[in-house]
Symmetry: C2
Subunit: 303 residues, 2 copies
């Protein structure tokens, strides 16, 4: 990942803040720091392991939000949900340098993204929505898919840094478009999971070795990333994340709130995820989306 030019020319690189040191944010900030960018990180709870991880990669740790964003040309954020983003970025209006470029990588839906873009822009800031897919592994390895909405010239400005964090960086159109594509991705992930769970359920019901579904069908017309990766976890009895069930439920709620169209399969997936989450009484914090299989069978929900 290290580019010599960046290490050699730190003075010419944009000064970066990264807000939110969860699993994803910390890994992305660490990649920027390792690539030579001067990065200051901030997290609401300073004791988070993500803060230490970013610091170990060379990032500076800011004691407060004001300290993190002062004199920063680019401000990245990766937070929990749209309320967190509205709260943190709302403070930015008062704190950040006029004309900083704010790049939010949280999944918050196109409506919230467009609203934020409006607020920040009327305060003189610029804004890109840039949600990601690819999970913690993608964040660590810099192989995320990053879907970006906003002005083309702001995208061009952010592109070198986004390329450090992701392998596929796609400009999707005006503000909210990155979020829109991310929601389309979640539709695919959610509905494909129904397919995986029902194929495995049918196999079990009909007396077939479930592994044949994953091993034999994965390379054919029934194949999907979900089958090869999460289907395999199911037959191995591993319901841990992967992608967290509760995050998927949040993302599917965003679809309902942002789309004016009936998506019955997506709605079914949401109900199945919800049922599993409710019946797992707290253990859902440790469940991946493949735990949907628990809605189909009397498999024990394991944490």
């Amino acid at each position: 990942m290290q580019k010599e030019t960046n290490s050699d020319n730190r003075a010419e690189l944009p000064r970066v803040a990264f807000l939110g040191m969860g699993i994803m944010g910390a890994a992305m900030a660490a990649n920027l720091a390792r690539d030579g960018y001067p990065v200051v990180v901030w997290n609401r709870s300073a004791g988070s392991p993500g803060v230490a991880l970013a610091a170990a990669a060379g990032a500076e740790v800011a004691p407060d939000l004001a300290g993190a964003v002062r004199d920063r040309e680019m401000i990245f954020s990766c937070l929990g949900d749209e309320k967190d983003v509205a709260s943190v970025l709302g403070e930015l209006v008062l704190l950040a340098s006029i004309d900083s470029l704010v790049v939010d990588m949280t999944t918050i839906g196109p409506g919230a993204a467009r609203e934020l873009a409006g607020e920040l822009e009327s305060a003189g800031l610029r804004f890109l929505d840039a949600p990601v897919t690819g999970g913690d592994i993608g964040a660590r390895e810099g192989t995320l898919t990053i879907m970006v909405g906003g002005r083309q010239e702001d995208f061009d400005t952010a592109l070198p840094l986004l390329r450090v964090m992701g392998k596929t960086v796609e400009y999707c159109g005006p503000s909210g478009s990155g979020q829109a594509l991310k929601l389309c991705n979640q539709v695919l992930c959610a509905v494909n999971m129904i397919g995986v769970c029902e194929a495995l359920t049918l196999a079990g019901n009909i007396g077939l070795d479930e592994r044949l579904v994953v091993d034999t069908l994965g390379g054919g017309a029934g194949g999907s990333w979900a089958l090869s990766n999460l289907g395999r976890r199911i037959v191995d009895g591993d319901l841990g994340p992967g992608f967290m069930l509760r995050h998927m439920i949040k993302d599917l709620r965003l679809i309902e709130e942002n789309a004016a169209v009936e998506l019955p399969g997506t709605e079914m997936a949401r109900n199945l995820f919800q049922r599993v989450s409710e019946s797992s009484s707290g253990a859902d914090r440790e469940l991946g989306t493949q735990a949907m299989i628990s809605a189909y069978s009397n498999r024990t929900v394991v944490s």
Copy 2:
């Protein structure tokens, strides 16, 4: 495909009949003939283009079913549905040599396969169910996935010939197991199609370029064969088969008849396919499964 050993040793190769010269059967029989096997083909309507295709590849054409199966050690069939198979293979009991190995490649469901196995075996014949996936291209190129149920020793006997017709040839277990795995495959194909249609519908509704869904999301966690192949056909406005809508509806009926378990996503897919089929008034004979998109939008059903 041509193996010199087979061309050199035709006398030692099993004599083969192939019943049913539809698109799939004709291509598979042609591959066997080209590989050096002595193949006699039969089709209920002798004028089918498939008959000519197999003959051009070196197969002999039988005037009637009795002529096709006389003195044949192996009898393959690829017919329309379970009624056709029961009717044609029912006649075999009276016609075929005792101890011929019958390999049916039609999708008929595990129940019908087990029933046929019983009938044929009580007449002294042996039976394998060996449905396929991979479509007409796979049949032509010999790259099908072939899923086989029956006795292991019969599988071993058929294996060299199945390897000529398919790239992945999988022994799935006792009689009906090949059919069972095929139905699992159809669950995946059907439900993944819901995912593709809903992701594209959401994109359209939310003002996003639909091509981004196929191009950007295909390589990630939302990716599937259905998205990369049939999703692309949808955005290109091509609703032709691929895999025929009406065949998928038949296969999903077989699931309902063979499984004693609720599969709500599969049921939803079946209803969507059915709705498209009914509203296309006869044009469904020319529609592929991706025509499901017509159930979501006011796209014109094109034939």
